[in-house]
């Protein structure tokens, strides 16, 4: 896992309801595993925009981009360029 993934997991553990004992892979669905709900998703988007100084266009808020750590890190990398 890279630094961005570690930071995302750090957010989920400290500001959301990801139990310390739960192991998360980069391809796990965050919604299907019950780690974020629709409100949590919005808070997660806020964190990512602030932390990485990017603006996530509304059309990017899709399960393909945002439901896995891999999708989110790819999106951050794409929008940071």
């Amino acid at each position: 896992m890279n630094d961005v993934t570690d930071e995302l997991i750090g957010f989920l553990r400290t500001k959301s309801f990801l139990d310390e004992a739960v192991l998360l892979t980069t391809t796990d669905s965050l919604t299907e595993r019950g780690i974020i709900d629709s409100i949590g998703l919005i808070e997660f988007v806020d964190f990512i925009q602030d932390r990485y100084a990017i603006e996530i266009p509304g059309e990017y808020l899709t399960p393909e981009n945002f439901d896995t750590l891999q999708g989110i890190t790819n999106l951050i990398s794409q929008l940071s360029k």
């Binding site: 553990r13 400290t14 500001k15 959301s16 309801f17 990801l18 139990d19 310390e20 919604t31 299907e32 595993r33 019950g34 780690i35 974020i36 709900d37 629709s38 409100i39 949590g40 919005i42 808070e43 806020d46 266009p57 509304g58 059309e59 990017y60 808020l61 899709t62 399960p63 945002f66």
Partner: protein, 342 residues
């Protein structure tokens, strides 16, 4: 609560709740160790942003705001105050009558609309469909993710999801750019959320999957945002969901005082956590029975964390007993299986 359960020493969360981690050294949960609530300075800035957005983004049609009004204290106060601060806003307040809203709450909603100068609309759905949805929610154990069931009961998550879906639909159809909810600082952290069509589609598909898990197809889109409505309207079809109570000082006793002055009457529902919905006692009983913790714990923890409620007041609310005859009565009305009734 047994002796192996640790409670956060600052708020009211405890280690028996899934995903709540109490640090052994500090005795604090992860939210108290890393608080996200606004400071007073941040709240002032957030209010300026909200006011600016409301000031310059107006509806193309006859409405600017679709407002979620329950007739309870928070939404009644929110409507009154937003009209005090933005008298030019054209607001339609929608009361979603889930069949269990107290008559006094409905009277309160009408009164507040009259006093504030907002349009009032009572939205209903066929009673048997709603009861089936609430019954299936109460009897489910895995419909909502942990994160959602930490914030609210399965029945409340179902009800609020319907309200969100239908208010998004109303905003798109009436070309109103804003949707307003009176969530408290304990219920959410973001005062303004931009709802793009893509996000609305995702939100719809998440709720559709949850309804299916409950055995509800909703082919007629009675609960879901109508698919062909998404994306209609001006610009890119986006709307803003606004939570004004997050940027104002939240002081429950002051809110009740102001509401009393303008004719709002507290309904006598027999529980300390709701001033509008008769389902509330049952939802608390059902949630504790199924999951072992109070559905309002997260909300109350947030209020304690941002200083608008003391920890003692919070614990008192969480430890308050539900009214068993009321729970039994509502369980009967929903035709719940006997194991879900007291």
């Amino acid at each position: 609560m047994n002796e192996t359960v640790n409670m956060c020493r600052r708020c009211v969360l405890h280690s028996a709740m899934p995903g709540v981690n109490i640090d052994h050294e500090s005795g604090l949960c992860q939210f108290c160790r890393n608080p996200s609530e606004f400071s007073p300075q941040e709240r002032v800035l957030a209010q300026k942003d909200m006011d600016a957005l409301l000031g310059h983004t107006r509806g193309e049609g006859s409405l600017d705001v679709i407002y979620a009004l329950s007739g309870g204290k928070d939404s009644s106060y929110g409507l009154y105050r937003i009209k005090q601060e933005h008298p030019d806003l054209r607001i339609r307040a929608i009361l979603f009558d889930n069949g269990f809203i107290s008559p006094q709450a409905i009277r309160n909603a009408r009164t507040i609309c009259d006093v504030a100068g907002a349009e009032f609309l009572r939205l209903t759905v066929q009673e048997d469909l709603l009861k089936r949805a609430f019954r299936n929610a109460a009897q489910s154990h895995d419909v909502y993710p942990d994160a959602a069931r930490l914030r609210a009961s399965d029945i409340c998550n179902t009800c609020i999801s319907i309200v969100k879906q239908k208010l998004m639909e109303a905003a798109v159809v009436s070309a109103a750019p804003h949707i307003m909810f009176a969530f408290t600082p304990g219920q959410t952290l973001s005062p303004v959320i931009r709802l793009s069509p893509a996000f609305m589609r995702w939100s719809r598909s998440l709720f559709e999957a949850q309804l299916k898990k409950m055995g509800i197809a909703d082919d007629d889109e009675m609960f879901l945002l109508k698919k062909d409505v998404i994306g209609q309207g001006k610009q890119d079809g986006a709307r803003y969901m606004i939570h004004p109570l997050l940027v104002w000082d939240y002081d429950e006793s002051n809110i009740l005082r102001i509401l009393g002055d303008i004719g709002w009457v507290p309904p006598a529902l027999g529980d300390k956590n709701s001033t509008n919905c008769l389902l509330n006692s049952l939802t608390i009983f059902n949630h504790i029975q199924k999951y072992g913790f109070h559905p309002y714990a997260c909300e109350i923890a947030g209020l304690v964390r941002c200083g608008t409620m003391s920890r003692e007041e919070g614990l008192e609310k969480l430890n308050g007993r539900v009214t068993i005859p009321l729970v039994k009565d509502i369980a009967e009305k929903l035709a719940l299986s006997p194991e879900y009734s007291p």
